[in-house]
């Protein structure tokens, strides 16, 4: 009995600080935000709030918000696709076509950009993508009459910046599942006469699917909530659900509307996470 009691104390003592902290900073704020999303005004100062569905009603009534939600979701789809198309082949090459002695160094090189400030990287893209920027200069150096291809302040610029920011996540998760594949499986397939394409389709792709899916979730979820990248790279094209939510809290000060829009965003995220949860769980088991 005493041992059992000590065990309980130990478990409680070891886990309580972490979960009290998370309760105060994650779970309690989310609950309060849910409450705020049903209010007419924020109950700060002397204002008298009343309960209402008006904030969610505004979302359903106004075409504008639905358009922005659609744009944010499409932005997530495009960036995720971009990361898959660039990142998966890179991870495949890194895991199966690079000599061992180079692999670790190359891997470090790919994750290093992660460790520079995200804002500065995004801002650097403005110098590259703007009219008369680096890409224009480079093109004109080769073809003197080349027209300007400056795409700054357009939708493609946002996609370029976001793909750049999230590509290392995709390469990382794909690489981890690809390099765990037993080489003898590939050799067995080859000795049985499988072509390269068949090996990819029947061995590599199915076995690395969990990593690929984890990467897709890790990219998609933060991208649909992004606001800094669309603002800096998108100009007038850069209005998304994220920037509208930011405005509600920093410029317009309509907190209940911001809270309601946040919960709509959260609902989208949770739907996606719930769909991917069985796969994610199998894949992220370092505990």
């Amino acid at each position: 009995m005493r041992i059992e009691q000590r065990r309980r104390f130990a478990i409680l003592g070891l886990t309580a600080p972490t979960y009290l902290w998370l309760a105060l900073t994650i779970f309690l704020p989310l609950s309060v935000m849910l409450y705020f999303s049903f209010l007419t005004v924020a109950p700060i100062g002397n204002r008298e709030p009343a309960l209402t569905f008006a904030q969610y009603g505004a979302f359903l009534d106004k075409e504008f918000y639905r358009f922005l939600t659609w744009r944010s979701v499409m932005m997530g789809v495009h960036v995720t696709l971009g990361c898959v198309l660039i990142g998966y082949p890179a991870a495949l090459i890194l895991a199966h076509h690079v000599p061992n002695r180079w692999r670790e160094a190359l891997f470090l090189l790919i994750v290093l950009p992660f460790w520079s400030n995200a804002l500065v990287r995004i801002f650097s893209w403005t110098m590259v993508l703007r009219e008369n920027g680096l890409i224009d200069r480079g093109l004109q150096a080769i073809f003197p009459d080349a027209p300007s291809v400056g795409i700054l302040f357009t939708y493609p610029a946002i996609i370029v910046g976001l793909v750049h920011s999230y590509l290392p996540y995709m390469i990382l998760t794909c690489y981890i599942s690809l390099q765990a594949i037993d080489r003898s499986l590939i050799e067995a397939a080859r000795s049985l006469g499988a072509s390269n394409l068949a090996i990819f389709r029947r061995v590599l792709l199915p076995l690395s699917l969990p990593g690929l899916l984890a990467g897709m979730v890790l990219v998609f979820v933060p991208v649909i909530g992004s606001f800094m990248e669309p603002r800096i790279l998108g100009g007038l094209e850069g209005v998304t659900l994220g920037t509208v939510i930011e405005d509600q809290f920093t410029a317009v000060f309509n907190w209940p509307l911001g809270a309601a829009l946040s919960f709509i965003l959260l609902a989208i995220v949770l739907t996606i996470l719930a769909a991917a949860y069985p796969l994610l769980r199998r894949n992220l088991q370092p505990f």
């Binding site: 700060i44 890179a90 110098m127 390099q179 992004s226």
Partner: protein
């Protein structure tokens, strides 16, 4: 045929690396470019580093960032290591639930976490400021610390600790003489990770920053929106060199990146 495939393969990796490093290279070059409007061609000068030395706003924000990241690393590593120990050494009801509860801080967009903290802290009087940012940063760091330390704990069993206990060591002695030294590399890696999470964190700090108090990322964002000055490129150049150093240190202490 084989040679062609090989050069295609290395060419592709090289292209990906160019894409990843292009903006970082641009930032570093512009830090040394005399023109404040980022004109090309580059006129090499160190004027922005000199300006930076006199920019108290930016240096103050950087100092805030460093102090915040340090305190965050200490608190998150301590709390996270405790939780990781509980997960690794005890079986108990509700363990899976507790582990699932670690997902929200990583998977919910920071925009939502940040704005909800702003609402709660403002409403309850906790208020905004560095203390509020610290609350948020630790929450974001905890899951990473638990995963990193947990992975390390998993790699050695309970046998060592049991052996020590059998030989008469008190639980306290077992922790300091056996567990802590073996966990060491994992703890160092986790602390570096927590430092980086906080140092680079923008969204949460942005919503919790009152006027007049900021961290480096918050300061950079307001500078970009007002008209970016090349001093930011200068300080970013310094920081990326420091973070790369930290990253190399991290790589030494944690073995991620595959088999050796």
């Amino acid at each position: 045929m084989k040679g062609l495939l090989k050069s295609l393969v290395s060419g592709y990796l090289a292209l990906v690396l160019v894409f990843l490093y292009l903006p970082i290279a641009v930032m570093m070059v512009m830090a040394f470019n005399q023109s404040p409007l980022y004109r090309l061609p580059v006129v090499w000068d160190t004027v922005w580093f000199e300006e930076l030395a006199g920019n108290e706003r930016l240096l103050g924000a950087s100092l805030n960032s460093v102090v915040l990241a340090l305190i965050n690393a200490v608190i998150a590593t301590a709390l996270g290591t405790m939780a990781a120990l509980a997960f690794a050494r005890y079986q108990f009801r509700g363990k899976t639930l507790l582990q699932i509860l670690l997902f929200p801080p990583i998977t919910i967009p920071w925009l939502i976490i940040g704005t909800s903290m702003l609402i709660l802290f403002f409403w309850t009087g906790i208020g905004r400021g560095l203390h509020a940012m610290l609350l948020g940063h630790v929450a974001l760091s905890l899951p990473y610390v638990i995963v990193v330390v947990g992975a390390r704990l998993k790699s050695f069993g309970v046998t060592l600790e049991e052996a020590a206990a059998t030989l008469g060591a008190s639980p306290w002695q077992v922790f300091w003489r056996v567990s802590a030294p073996v966990m060491g590399p994992g703890i160092v890696a986790a602390a570096l990770f927590a430092f980086a999470v906080s140092f680079d964190q923008f969204v949460i700090s942005y919503f919790l920053a009152p006027p007049g108090i900021s961290t480096l990322p918050v300061e950079i964002y307001s500078a970009i929106r007002k008209g970016f000055t090349p001093e930011i490129n200068a300080i970013s150049t310094i920081i990326i060199l420091v973070s790369m150093g930290l990253m190399l240190l991290f790589a030494r202490f944690s073995r991620f990146g595959g088999e050796r």
